[in-house]
Every structure is written in C-alpha cells, then in structure tokens.
Symmetry: C2
Subunit: 459 residues, 2 copies
C-alpha cells in the first residue's frame, strides 16, 4: 500500500490527465521502453488510461497496447467508449483477451462482448468459468438498454427472520462478497424482495435486533425489462443508492447501484443534446471519415428543408426583383424565428425528459410559449421596423417587417413546444425534433409572411 | 410500516406523477378537503410532490400550501427548483417555516436560505439549535458552487488504530449517525483523512482486524474550494461513492456522497444544453412574463448578428437585382453552414466538459473537423450544383453554389471547434459559443462567398 500522504489528491489538475503525463507515456511508447510505460500507467486510474487511449491517434494506440502486452489492465477495457473499445479489442492478442475477461466482473464482460459477432463472442465466453458464463449469457438475453443489462448479479440477501448477528456472521464467513453493495436485500421464501436494510443501520444496532425492523420506509424494485432511462430517472428522482431488480414474477434477479445509474443519466442528457444538434453518437476517437459519414444524413435532411424554404422564396421572385431590400432583410425574420424556436424546443425536450412537462401542465405551458413568443415578437417588431425604415427609407417596409416578426415568433413558440410533444406522444424521442425540423417551420413561415405581405403592401 | 407487497413499485408509470393522482389532489384542494389532501400526499415521495407544485399554476399552488398547513413535509422544500422554491417559501407562514428548518438536514437548510435576504435568513437561522446554526453559517461562507456548499458535515470517522470491533461498538453507542454514509473515514491525530473503509468490508471481517488494513487502494480527497463541476466529474470518472472534503491544511471538514454529485452532473449537462440554445436557467414553473424576459437578451444578440449578415448581403444589392435566383438560393448555403457548425460545436462543447478534448488531441481534432467539413462540403457541392443548374438552367450558377458550399462547410467545421476551444482557454464556458455566435460566422462567410463569387463569375 502506498504512503497515505502520496495518495491524497489535493488540486483539481490532478483529476485530469495532465500534459506532462501524456508526454511521458507517449515518449515511452515511442522509445519502446516497456518498463517505463508500465510504471507510468501504474499511477493512473483505469478511467484515465481509457481517456488517454481515446485521445491519442490510431498508430500510437496500437503501439501502446502492443508494448503494454500481458500487463494490460482489463479494467481499462470496460472504461472505454464503444467505438474506441472495439478498436482496442481488435488489437489485443487472444491471450490478452481471455486473461482480461477472467479478471472482470460479469457486467463488465457483458459490456465487452455485447456488440461482438457470434464466433468472437464464443471465444471470449469459453475463457470464462461456468458460473460466470451462465451469468453473462443470461444478461445478454435482456434488451440492450434495459435494467437487465445494467444490473449486477453479485448481491447480499437475507431471509426475513435474520438478525443483525446472523448477517454479520454470514458476511464474515463469506469469501466472495460483491465489490459494491450498500444494502442488504431482504427476501421472502419465494425469493421476492420485501425490503432493504442499509449497511450503516446494521452496524448501528446490537446483534439481537431483527433486520426486518431496520428496513427503509421507502422501497422500490425495478422490473428487469424497464428501460435504462427510466431506471436512471428513478435513482435521481428518489435519491436511491441501490435497488433490487425483479423478473415478471417479482422474484429477485439482480441489483443496480447508483454509479451505474449515474452513467446512464449522463448518457441520456448527452444523447438529447446530440439529437437536438443532429449528431449521432460519434466519439472523440472516431476517424475523420467516420464522423463525416455520421453527420451526412442530418445535413442531407437540412438540405431538403432548406430547398423547401427556397421554393417558398421563389414564389415571390417578382417581388424580390422589384424591391431588392426584401432579399437583404428576409434572413433576419427567418433567423429570429429559428432562434426563438430553438430556445423553446430545448426547454421542452429537457422538460419532457425530466418529466416536468405532463398532462397536468401541458395546456398552460403551450399557452405560455405562444404568449411569450408573441411578447418578444412585439418587442423585436418595434426594433426591426425602426431599422428597416431608417436603412431603406420605406415606412411600409417597416410595417411589413414588424408584422412578419410578430407572426414568426408566435409560430416559433408554438412549433418549438408542439413538435416535441407530438413526437413524444407518437412514441419517438422528442429530441429528434432537432433544430433542422423546427427551423424549417420558422423559415417557411418567416419567408412566406414577409414576402407575402411585401407583395400585398409594397407593390 | 406499510405492507411490503404494497410498497413494491412494479411498473414505470408508478414512477411518474400520474394524471389520476394529480386530479385527486387538485379536486381536494378545490373542495378545501384538508384530510383528503393530506392522505393523498402521504402516498407520494417528496420529490413527486415538489414536481406537482412546480407543474400546477400559481393560485392552485398557494391554496394547496395553505390547506396543507402545518402538515407540510419540509423535505418537499429541498426538492423544489430554485424559482418554485422561492415562490413556495413566500407563501409559508413563519411557523411553517421554522418548524420546517428544524426538521431538515443542515445541507438542505443551506439550500433554502442561501438566496434569502439577510433579515429573512436571520429569522430562519434563529429557529435552528446552536450546533446546526453554526454548521449552516459555516457552509454559507463557501462559494455557492463549491464543494463546501455540496458537502454534509454528518460523517463517521475513526482513528488509525481502531479495529472492526471498535467502530462497531462506537456506532452502536452513537445516537445520531448520519442518514447517508457508505464509508468510514480514517483520520490521523491532526484530523487529516488518510483513507476510507467501505461499510461492506467492515462487516465482512472479524472484530480484531485493524481498520487501516481494510482501506481502499484508491483514495481521493476533495478540496473544499473545488468547483462543484469538478467534484461531479471526479465522482463520475473514478466511480466514487463518498469522499472526504478537506480544507487548505488538508484537515477533514465534511464529506460528499454520490447522490449530491449526481444532481450536479445532471445540472451541468443541462446547463451546457441551455447555453447552446441561448436559454438561461428558466424553469417549468416560471411565468410567461419571466420566460419572455429571460429569452429577450439572447434574441437581441441574434438580431445584431442577423443584421450583420444582412449588411453583408446589401454589399451585393446590384448582383441580387441582376440575378434573382441568387436571392432564392443564398439561404441554402447559409443554412447548411449553420447546421454543420452546430454539429461540430455540440460535439466540441461536450468533449471539453467531459475532458475528452485536451492538449494531446486538440490539433488532431481541429484537423479532423476541418477535413470532415470539407468532405461533406464536396458531397453537398455536387448535389447543390445539380439542383442549381437544373432549377435555373444556368451552369455557372451551379459552379458558384458548389464552391460556396465547400468553403462554407470547411469554415463551419473550423468555427465550430475553434470558438469553443478559444472560449475555454479564455476561462469562459465553451457552451457560451451558442448557435448564435457560430452561425454568425457561417452566415457571413456563406453570403459573402456565394454572392461574391456570383458577382465575379455571373455578371
């Protein structure tokens, strides 16, 4: 064990991979100095090594893995993001792979093998002992983004009649307690969980006290088929630390701890953010070609919607030829609508995700967005009317700008809230209503209102 | 204690406030039936009641609080979002307020009083007993978004020489153990933490084993002035459950548990998302007027940038008058640039937040964004050139569109990555590079390239 003083991390820089450490590691890889590499990596947390592997380029990564060889820390594999994980797995020798899976917990093994082809999966599963293999195969039968995949099978349970003394004796006698557990799960004879007791409570009471008298008031089980998003929501909403997972008959099949829920919570927030911007689940380690390909479809959708907006403009070609000021000013109306819609959209998507937008306040929120959009529409109508009049000296141009601005900002508020609500009701992810779709509405309405009014009032 | 079977929540609908429950509560409030209200609320988690209070309208909220009266569950107050919390606090009677703070943990009291005026704070602090008051006042001396504000003072510590038996005896004799704790913090005689022991480990070993032999290999302390964002990052990165907080001399002053870190982690991701969309920290319970005011400044910034783009267009008024097709097509080039830039921007902001974009891979990522932008630029140049030629029958128009598209998407990639990096280096939040700023660049460059090339090649 290291000297305690040395293990204390005192400043925030110590949390991140600092440049000096990265340079030292890359220098060791460059020079092929195996011992120096191993020694430097030894001081890093597996999560930091995983970050390093994601950040360096492909050839450096390959040489590092090769040089690290049999000393490779298997926990680094379960810390990698999916894309980088597959690249690293591909560079491991069969020996490295099988010794790695033997050292990992079963939920980490599941993460490693879930995206593999059958034959490659088979090779890895063969490296496991029978009990672990059964556990991994069982996990793989659950849906990828369900509680069944998140849960661990290692847990501590006790029958209802046990006392504090019984569970302490049981734990002292047991030689394979889980790495992480915070609760004792109390089960009935049919293996259905009936409550949980915090470890702190157990330790605070004499040996003769019955566990069933120490159970938490609040107790929630998680159905094995529940989506990981709902699991994360429940952990966050109800401040849960650990919860039993049950099958369709209510029998205990595993347990989920808060750190797993925390991972999912961050992933889900990030996914919403990416969907809103029209980016898929690309990673920092992806190649140039990969990210260009991933972004292409969204840009194509945007091209189609932009062409629709252009077709709307082309309907007013005569008006544009007559008054060139319209061509100069029309992007302002469209841009303001697009921004106002994106504001509403972002708030709506988050509110749906955190279940703050529900049947009981939907009408009020929709009305609020419409009115707030109109209010800002009026404010900007005044500003833009003055700009338009002063710039081009045409008073009626100011009037046209003002009416178009109020109309477009009101529509922006409505589109920004109604499109995600409609997607949610249709069972789709509301964040799919990315900027692209909602701003198509504001572009089309903006150009149509502005140029249509101009045709009617200016010509 | 309720019947165990009743306490098991089996389906996901049970997690959310369902419409029937909300209706029952509002009906009870409407009818002024106090007992029915209390009974219905009794079945709900404080977090769900807080959500309900945020979702219903102002008058319903006031009547509910009034009817609930002295039975109001103080924990609901600490579950409310800031805006709603202040509104609810304003409707409480002084008696309700002081009995509420007496029941809460000190970190929850800090959350309630931190935004109050001095005189109002004083009234609440007077309701506390001396020890709690000192603890709350001490917390308030730390920065609002620091570890010092996140931490709780309630924790279990042990000197280095204690055994498993010593700590169990100590805990059994203690009558005010913290609600939440997962580790025993081992401290030296100067009160500096030297390690931590998981409760599960303590329970798994005989009474004679020394705690110092059971300490975790990995052990991190958190400086009391560290930003909450860094604290949340460390918990997530290193899978921490609980960590000691130390002052500048390395002495133990409190502890942070993972559930507090989880709250912050979600808040920070949400903040990035809102900043990107140009929305402040508005809440679902805010009034129409409040959200219109909060969004106004960002829309004003957008108006200024849109006017800049219009000024660029006005430089080419003659060209637009000569070829009206340019006015019809120019929004396409600008829109594609804006979308491509938003994609890059979103990825960059997240990568900086999760520390995946660092000095060691910055050059590679910038180069990648530039090349990926150019690749998609070429792909869309071909598509848009064909559209332009077929639609308007002017081959050179296709060439102009194509060159402008490649140029603008390359610039979009660069702006999307360089602007957030520059903001981060300047010490600002990279998410401040909201759509508005980055798309100004692509609008200006898009219009300039397209109309400039058209002037040179088409006239």
């Amino acid at each position: 064990m290291a000297d305690p003083a040395e293990r204390i991390v005192e400043n925030e820089d110590a949390y991140a991979l600092n440049a000096a450490t990265v340079d030292a590691i890359l220098a060791a890889v460059e020079a092929g100095e195996r011992l120096r590499l191993i020694e430097t990596l030894d001081h890093l947390h597996p999560a930091d090594i995983a970050d390093l592997l994601e950040q360096i380029d492909v050839s450096q990564r390959e040489r590092l893995i090769e040089l690290w060889g049999k000393d490779l820390n298997p926990e680094v594999l379960s810390e990698l993001e999916e894309g980088a994980r597959d690249l690293v797995l591909a560079t491991l020798t069969p020996d490295q792979l099988s010794s790695a899976v033997q050292e990992l917990e079963t939920d980490d093994v599941v993460y490693l093998v879930e995206d593999m082809d059958e034959p490659q999966q088979e090779i890895l599963l063969d490296a496991l002992d029978d009990a672990d293999r059964v556990a991994v195969e069982q996990s793989l039968t659950y849906d990828e983004y369900s509680a069944g995949r998140m849960m661990q099978r290692e847990m501590v349970t006790a029958p209802e009649h046990w006392t504090v003394g019984d569970i302490i004796d049981f734990m002292r006698a047991s030689d394979d307690l889980p790495e992480q557990f915070y609760d004792i799960i109390i089960v009935d004879p049919a293996l259905k969980p009936v409550g949980e007791v915090r470890l702190g409570k157990v330790m605070a009471h004499p040996r003769t006290v019955k566990l069933s008298t120490l159970m938490e008031d609040e107790f929630r089980t998680i159905p094995v088929n529940q989506s990981q998003e709902d699991v994360a929501y429940a952990f966050n909403q109800y401040h849960m630390i650990q919860a039993p997972v049950v099958d369709e008959h209510g029998r205990l099949v595993g347990t989920i701890t808060i750190d797993d829920a925390m991972d999912v919570l961050e992933d889900e927030a990030e996914e919403d953010m990416r969907l809103l911007a029209g980016v898929g689940d690309e990673e920092i380690s992806d190649s140039t070609w990969a990210i260009a390909k991933r972004r292409f479809p969204w840009l194509l959708v945007n091209l189609l919607t932009a062409v629709i907006a252009s077709i709307v403009i082309s309907l007013f070609a005569d008006t544009l030829e007559a008054v060139v000021a319209l061509a100069i000013l029309m992007p302002i109306v469209a841009s303001m609508g697009g921004n106002a819609a994106t504001q509403t959209l972002t708030v709506a998507v988050r509110a749906i995700a955190t279940r703050d937008l529900t049947a009981s306040n939907m009408m009020r929120v929709v009305r609020r967005e419409l009115v707030a959009g109109t209010l800002n529409g009026v404010a900007f109508a005044i500003i833009i009317a003055i700009i338009g009049m002063v710039w081009f000296g045409i008073p009626m141009l100011g009037v046209v700008l003002a009416i178009a601005m109020v109309g477009n900002l009101a529509v922006a508020g409505l589109a920004g809230i109604l499109i995600p609500i409609a997607l949610d009701k249709a069972g789709a992810d509301p964040a799919l209503a990315s900027g692209t779709f909602v701003t198509t509405v504001t572009d089309v309405v903006g150009f149509m209102l502005f140029l249509g009014l101009a045709s009617a009032l200016l010509l």
